[in-house]
């Protein structure tokens, strides 16, 4: 197996995982994209004596940012290749445990804290909080590791589906109820209003997304030290570089010297919500009373229906899930998927897959029943 820059990054991730650091794979990749971690032009930091030419160019001239699934596969590859033993346990107090990650993401996406207990319940029911499930063991028969961040986010999606159904109907009627209640009882803890949350989040995320796209369009891939294949190419490469630098210098005089915003320090949170901010409502403290109802000692969700993201799983070795085709799903579901997939910088289909996998565990019984019947998804009532 030959080492490449992506594989090196995967190797770094393995070490972070071994040490159970408070950083997920999506965080790591985001830091790479934001230039906090050298990746694209890593060779610039090499000492002078190291001359790069020939096949080094193919290795170090990176023209793409690392892709989540790609790096994920490579971590397993590298770990298997290195014959690593079982990694240190991931227990309930680790950052990577779904309980803690869920809490983090709930905060980041501005959802009420009360949802936390629900996520913990689902973790228990599906068994994804077990140490053996979470810990990476490369020498196991089929080495796999958990996509901790994607899984945590998928959990939140499942809980949202449990509470609000997300069929483009129920969530809005529940919101109207919450709004009415909040109008009448202004002094109580407000009920969580899905519609309001949608409006706030959509606006914030759209802004962030646009800025992100603009920053990406402006990204400069080529470094000051040009990479060339052989000594024949060297003068050409250097001349081109000089030309580009001159042109850039000329055009930078045309650009207003805006007060250069200090390069932001890497942070694991992309969104921050403050209670007192009147412009952007913070929903952390809102109550889920509007969507729960009491039944004896326990609380049940008002919504008693659920729809499965996938009705069939491939029975063969790959166990893949049916592909995510946007138009088959409700707009609310699409919005939620797009929101979280932007947060983690992954493809929506990946998140959808993970959601299906959690549902598979949660509704295990239902899946075994449906296997016998014809392939139609069933609305499941609990």
């Amino acid at each position: 197996m030959k080492m490449t820059v992506p594989r090196t990054l995967a190797f770094c991730y393995l070490s972070l995982l071994w040490q159970r650091e408070t950083i997920t794979l999506s965080d790591l990749l985001r830091f790479v994209e934001e230039d906090h971690i050298p990746y694209v032009n890593a060779f610039q930091h090499f000492p002078e004596e190291m001359k790069l030419y020939g096949r080094d160019k193919g290795i170090f001239a990176v023209e793409s940012w690392p892709d989540y699934e790609d790096i994920y596969k490579k971590t397993i590859e590298v770990a298997t290749f290195l014959d690593l033993p079982r990694f240190p346990d991931i227990t309930e107090d680790c950052y990577l445990h779904p309980n803690i990650l869920c809490l983090k993401y709930l905060m980041e996406v501005n959802l009420p804290d009360e949802m936390y207990s629900l996520t913990c319940q689902v973790v228990k029911m599906t068994g994804i909080g077990e140490v053996d499930f979470l810990t990476f063991d490369p020498i196991a028969k089929m080495a796999k590791t958990v996509k901790y961040d994607v899984q945590a986010v998928a959990l939140i999606v499942v809980v949202l589906k449990l509470l609000f159904l997300l069929d483009d109907n129920l969530e809005w009627s529940l919101s109207s109820l919450a709004e009415k209640h909040n109008e009448k009882n202004k002094n109580d803890k407000p009920w969580f209003d899905f519609r309001k949350w949608y409006q706030v989040m959509k606006k914030t995320v759209d802004e962030k997304k646009q800025k992100w796209e603009e920053a990406r369009a402006k990204y400069v891939w080529k470094s000051e030290k040009p990479l060339y294949y052989s000594s024949v190419d060297k003068p050409v490469a250097y001349k081109k570089r000089e030309m580009v630098v001159n042109l850039q210098k000329q055009f930078s005089t045309l650009v207003d010297l805006t007060p250069t915003t200090e390069k932001k320090k890497p942070s694991s949170f992309q969104f921050n919500w403050i209670e007192e901010d009147t412009d952007r409502t913070c929903f952390h403290g809102h109550s889920l009373q509007g969507v729960l109802k009491e039944k004896g000692q326990s609380l049940l969700t008002k919504n008693s229906l659920y729809w499965l993201s996938t009705q069939k799983f491939c029975r063969s070795y790959c166990k893949h899930v049916t592909t995510y085709e946007e138009s088959n799903f409700s707009l609310s579901y699409q919005f939620i998927l797009n929101l979280f997939s932007f947060l983690l910088r992954i493809k929506a289909s990946l998140l959808h897959e993970e959601v299906s996998l959690i549902e598979k565990k949660l509704f295990k019984k239902k899946y075994t029943i449906t296997k016998k019947k014809s392939s139609r998804s069933k609305k499941v009532r609990r």
Binding site: N246, F251, D256
Partner: protein, 450 residues
């Protein structure tokens, strides 16, 4: 308790029967199939992020240019320069031209840019690769011309003329012709200035002969430069005009006539009304025979029936002896007034009024009827509505008078326009109006009941 209510969500699976033909015989259409086919064609390789970000950058630059946001365009341009170092050789070769076009636009309009900046940019871009030198030089020279720096423009054009690198292709030939022609145009301009000074000089002035010599040398240079370009089919109005002017000045009428005739009649050249106008004016000066003039104007009539030269055409046709020319004269006048741009042309109306009267008096009222047939549905509201009557009379009484004469002849004395003008009180035109009334009564086609 499982609810047996059904909700069907059809999955999109990689079907077993993936047909090669997207449209099968039963008329079924699989839109999602196209995506799969396309991804197979590129070997399933993912597009690199470099390519993706640079094309996003390009569209942002184009959007900024469209919205005149020069600042923003310059910002993104700054990042776009890296395409010159693209590892994809196709993109790398196409980059200089794209960068030149976008960059020159930005530098042309950006408030902070100036001639030096533009020239520096042009000089840099010229020397990247060999393919763009000529094009950029030409555009650079035009930019300098635009800013009134004729000497610098001429210098750049001369440099570009001697460029010998790059493959010989037809486009290169044309570019060189362009460059020479523009140089010729600049030389014409200098010549023209010298001519002015020269005309102020006296024959006995000591500087006379040297000035004459000077001018002559310029002429020779110009003719060499321009004649090459005008042999190629195209629209070269300013070049042809200046060239012909010089030839005329030196008495080479034959040469001038040849150039103009070629320009107007060569079938390979695109149809250009100006060519015919130049030729006509030249022949008029030469006092060419009427038949010749008529033939030139006839072609112009077919291309631009609303041109003001059509009135001259009409006069020439009237003077001719052939009857078919007289008929055409009427058609030409009607043709001119069909167009909205000529509705206030008092000469046209005057001619029409006079000629209508003449024709109706003479033995060809049928001609008038023929012309009027195709127009009687829309001319009344187009020219002779009550609104026009009021506004024309307010604006220009002479115009209103002529129009009303025509209206009366064509629509009879009951027409609103005619009646409105009759009602007006005007000292000067009083007599004329009275006479008009008489003529209309006598000659209007409405009366004769045709």
């Amino acid at each position: 308790m499982s609810d047996s209510s059904e909700e069907s969500t059809k999955p999109v699976t990689d079907d077993e029967h993936v047909d090669k033909s997207v449209l099968s015989g039963t008329g079924m259409h699989f839109p999602w199939l196209q995506n799969y086919i396309e991804s197979v064609a590129i070997g399933g390789k993912r597009k690199k992020d470099f390519a993706q970000t640079t094309s996003a950058c390009l569209s942002l630059i184009q959007e900024a240019l469209l919205k005149h946001q020069w600042q923003k365009a310059a910002e993104y341009m700054h990042s776009y320069f890296q395409t010159l170092e693209d590892s994809d050789s196709h993109k790398r070769q196409a980059a200089p031209e794209i960068i030149w076009r976008l960059g020159s636009e930005i530098l042309f309009y950006h408030p902070k840019s100036n001639v030096e900046a533009f020239s520096a940019f042009a000089d840099r871009m010229k020397n990247i690769g060999v393919m763009n030198y000529l094009k950029i030089s030409l555009q650079h020279a035009l930019y300098l011309l635009h800013h009134g720096m004729l000497e610098d423009a001429k210098r750049h054009l001369s440099e570009a003329e001697t460029w010998r690198y790059g493959e010989k292709s037809s486009s290169r030939e044309i570019l060189i012709n362009f460059i020479q022609a523009y140089k010729g145009l600049l030389q014409y301009y200098t010549w023209s200035k010298k001519k002015e000074e020269f005309s102020k000089l006296d024959k006995d002035d000591y500087a006379y002969s040297t000035a004459a010599q000077n001018m002559l040398s310029h002429t020779w240079k110009t003719s060499v430069n321009i004649s090459g370009l005008i042999k190629i089919p195209g629209v070269w109005d300013p070049f042809v005009k200046s060239y012909v002017e010089m030839l005329e000045f030196y008495g080479d009428q034959d040469g001038a006539r040849e150039v103009l005739t070629n320009y107007a009649y060569d079938e390979k050249f695109p149809s250009n009304p100006n060519a015919h106008i130049y030729l006509y004016n030249f022949l008029k000066k030469q006092k060419a025979p009427r038949a010749k003039l008529l033939s030139v104007l006839k072609i112009l009539y077919q291309i631009v029936p609303s041109h003001k030269l059509m009135l001259e055409f009409h006069t020439l046709l009237k003077k001719s002896e052939k009857e078919e020319h007289h008929k055409l004269a009427l058609q030409v006048l009607f043709g001119v007034l069909d167009f909205a741009g000529c509705t206030k042309n008092i000469t046209a109306w005057k001619y029409l009024a006079k000629y209508l009267r003449q024709t109706l008096m003479g033995n060809h009222p049928a001609w008038v009827q023929e012309e009027w047939n195709s127009r009687k549905n829309w001319w009344p509201s187009f020219h002779f509505s009550y609104f026009w009557a009021k506004s024309d009379w307010k604006e220009d009484t002479a115009l209103a008078f002529e129009k009303s004469f025509v209206a009366g002849l064509l629509l009879g004395k009951g027409c609103r326009y005619f009646r409105y003008i009759l009602k007006q009180d005007h000292q000067v035109l009083m007599k004329k109006i009275k006479r008009m009334k008489k003529s209309v009564k006598k000659y209007s086609i409405v009366n004769s009941g045709i």
